[in-house]
């Protein structure tokens, strides 16, 4: 095979190309631009992402490239849309905060975001272990840096987990640093674990290509070991318990708009990776991996829902709720796996996963942006998120209904969507997942999940309670900045519109997995 053969079909990488070129272009532009406020780079990023997003519709991205290492199919395209949309909203909603943290260096944030996105989009189509791991890392590395993005501030007295760790007032303490470090430590260990699993997989399969692996691998203890390590390693990325420990801390510590991005895009990518592997070369070995996924589901549902209950910090709460939400995502995977196992074909489960991820993205980003909008209005111009210790507790929502009716309504909508209440997009996602799960024969899990999901409303409603049932006192009015407001508006409209008419989108998800 010559280098030119390898480039056959490379046009299906158009979107990835846009992102890659965009990232590099931003880097160059950043260097070339004179020092100063580089907000314009944010708009460029938006443009690029919008372009990429449009390209997923206008260009034919299906096919095979690089001799099978990269495949563009409906699933991959759909995933790319989720990533790009998440990136788009992440940039749009975070523009102010990014500019505030470092007006002169905001370009770097966008470059890192683009690079991370590149990792994700590549991941979606990767059919090669090497490409899979490289793109996985490409996605992760910038996230570590972005989580730690921000300044060092001073804080009031804080309690540590042990008395010796108590921080006296005014100590410099870097919340994003802690967020980034925790993400990094758990992430690095997890990815090494996953790598080890993949190396074993390579060992028993003798190739890095999925299509080959699917033929050559035999089930056995080593495969079980490898699969367990891979599932565990990727479960870190989607934040499934017990690999979720970084989630609440990073959510709380990192800047909110970034968390909005972090909480959806990498998770979707993690699912994409799991799907590539588990429903690709391992599709014939569902006996090996389904029990693991089932275990993750149960632990995630229980831990996520239980731990979210006592949280007073909204971002932490959403972190834990996200853990529980990932249980739903895994359920879709489980359903898909069962059908793949019994009938050997792609199933509706996969479509439900795609729809679920999209729904989760919309609602979750929305909530985080509402938090950001409220918190930002309480900050002074040169303050950043990490300097105020309490600007994301439940209390910041006090009387939001009066301080900003629109934001409160949007927040309510997102929260209800996450809680799975009808006529918001999240409801359809959850129900569809449960439907698929039932078809797969996990009736008891459906009951458990539905009941826990309903019980989970307890903490979602805490947000609604804070927004609607507490007096506003003398808290100031809240107005979201233009970009942020636009992002919230768009997301709210999406939540409503798809919630009211989910048919086309669900149909599209089915088409994407080849069920049309």
């Amino acid at each position: 095979m010559s280098a030119f053969d390898a480039l056959n079909g490379v046009e299906i990488l158009a979107v990835d190309g846009i992102v890659a070129v965009g990232a590099l272009g931003l880097l160059l532009a950043d260097v070339a631009m004179p020092a100063g406020n580089k907000r314009i780079l944010g708009y460029c990023t938006l443009l690029l992402l919008a372009l990429g997003f449009t390209a997923t519709f206008t260009l034919d991205l299906t096919g095979t490239a690089l001799g099978g290492a990269y495949v563009g199919d409906g699933f991959a395209i759909w995933c790319k849309r989720i990533f790009l949309a998440a990136g788009f909203f992440g940039v749009l909603g975070g523009m102010d905060e990014t500019a505030r943290i470092g007006p002169r260096r905001q370009g770097e944030y966008y470059q890192l975001l683009m690079m991370s996105l590149l990792g994700m989009t590549l991941l979606a189509g990767a059919r090669d272990l090497i490409l899979l791991m490289v793109s996985f890392e490409l996605m992760s590395l910038p996230l570590y840096a972005m989580a730690a993005w921000g300044g060092i501030g001073t804080y009031p007295k804080r309690k540590g987990p042990l008395p010796s760790m108590e921080l006296p007032a005014k100590t410099k303490w870097h919340r994003p640093a802690e967020a980034g470090l925790k993400l990094y430590l758990v992430g690095a260990v997890s990815s090494v674990v996953a790598l080890y699993g993949i190396s074993l997989l390579f060992g028993i399969g003798g190739s890095t290509r999925f299509d080959v692996l699917a033929r050559t691998m035999n089930a056995g203890p080593v495969m079980s070991l490898a699969v367990a390590m891979i599932v565990g390693g990727f479960a870190f990325k989607i934040g499934a318990a017990p690999f979720h420990m970084w989630v609440p801390d990073t959510y709380q510590g990192a800047s909110t708009p970034f968390v909005a991005f972090l909480s959806v895009a990498p998770k979707a990518a993690g699912f994409a990776a799991l799907v590539q592997l588990l429903l690709g070369p391992l599709a014939g070995h569902t006996d090996t991996w389904m029990p693991l996924v089932l275990a993750l589901i149960i632990v995630s549902l229980l831990v996520g829902n239980l731990m979210a209950v006592p949280q007073q910090n909204v971002k932490r709460m959403l972190g834990f709720s996200g853990v529980a939400q990932m249980g739903f995502g895994l359920m879709a995977l489980l359903a898909a796996g069962t059908v793949a196992h019994t009938s050997g074909q792609k199933s509706e489960g996969l479509a439900t996963l795609l729809f679920f991820l999209a729904a989760y993205m919309v609602a979750n980003m929305g909530v985080f942006f509402v938090i950001e909008a409220v918190a930002a209005s309480g900050r002074t111009e040169d303050e950043t998120a990490d300097e105020k210790d309490s600007d994301d507790t439940l209390a910041v929502f006090r009387g939001l209904h009066a301080r900003s009716p629109g934001l409160a309504l949007a927040g309510l909508l997102f929260v209800l969507s996450l809680g799975g209440i009808p006529f918001a997009i999240g409801f359809w996602a959850k129900v569809w997942v449960l439907l698929g799960l039932w078809t797969a024969g996990y009736g008891w899990l459906v009951v458990l999940a539905a009941a826990l999901s309903a019980a989970g409303l307890f903490y979602y409603l805490q947000i609604a309670r804070s927004m609607y049932m507490t007096p506003e006192g003398d808290l100031p009015k809240v107005t979201a900045r233009m970009e942020l407001g636009l992002a919230i508006l768009l997301l709210a409209l999406l939540t409503m519109a798809v919630g009211l008419f989910p048919g086309p989108v669900m149909e599209a998800a089915r088409v994407a997995v080849g069920l049309g």
Binding site: E137, G180, L181, A188, V192, S199, G203
Partner: protein
């Protein structure tokens, strides 16, 4: 050079397992983040040994290429990790993991 037959492969895999476990021990017991990174490196190294062993056992290029990639990945990861250590050190004057333990519950 010795041919990697089943026996050698077995030995290498066990070596890798041992290194991996040592790495696990390292990441679990170290309070210092750099020490923890050392454990991580051992684990990564175990991955590499695995890959090389399989590559040599099977004879293709893929394994070696893969190893190349993993080495690069590990290095990149450590680079970012160390940057984070420096950041933590700057704010807390400490490189212990417990210095980053304010967010909890």
């Amino acid at each position: 050079m010795i041919a990697v037959n089943a026996e050698v492969l077995q030995l290498l895999l066990l070596l890798s397992a041992a290194l991996f476990s040592l790495g696990v021990y390292g990441v679990l017991t170290r309070k210092n983040i750099i020490g923890l990174l050392i454990g991580l490196e051992l684990m990564a190294n175990a991955v590499n040994i695995n890959l090389v062993a399989f590559a040599r056992h099977q004879g293709g290029t893929a394994g070696q290429v893969f190893t190349l990639f993993t080495i690069a990945l590990t290095v990149a990861e450590v680079a970012v990790g160390l940057a984070l250590v420096i950041l933590l050190h700057r704010s807390r004057r400490s490189t212990e993991t417990d210095a980053a333990a304010q967010l909890h519950g």
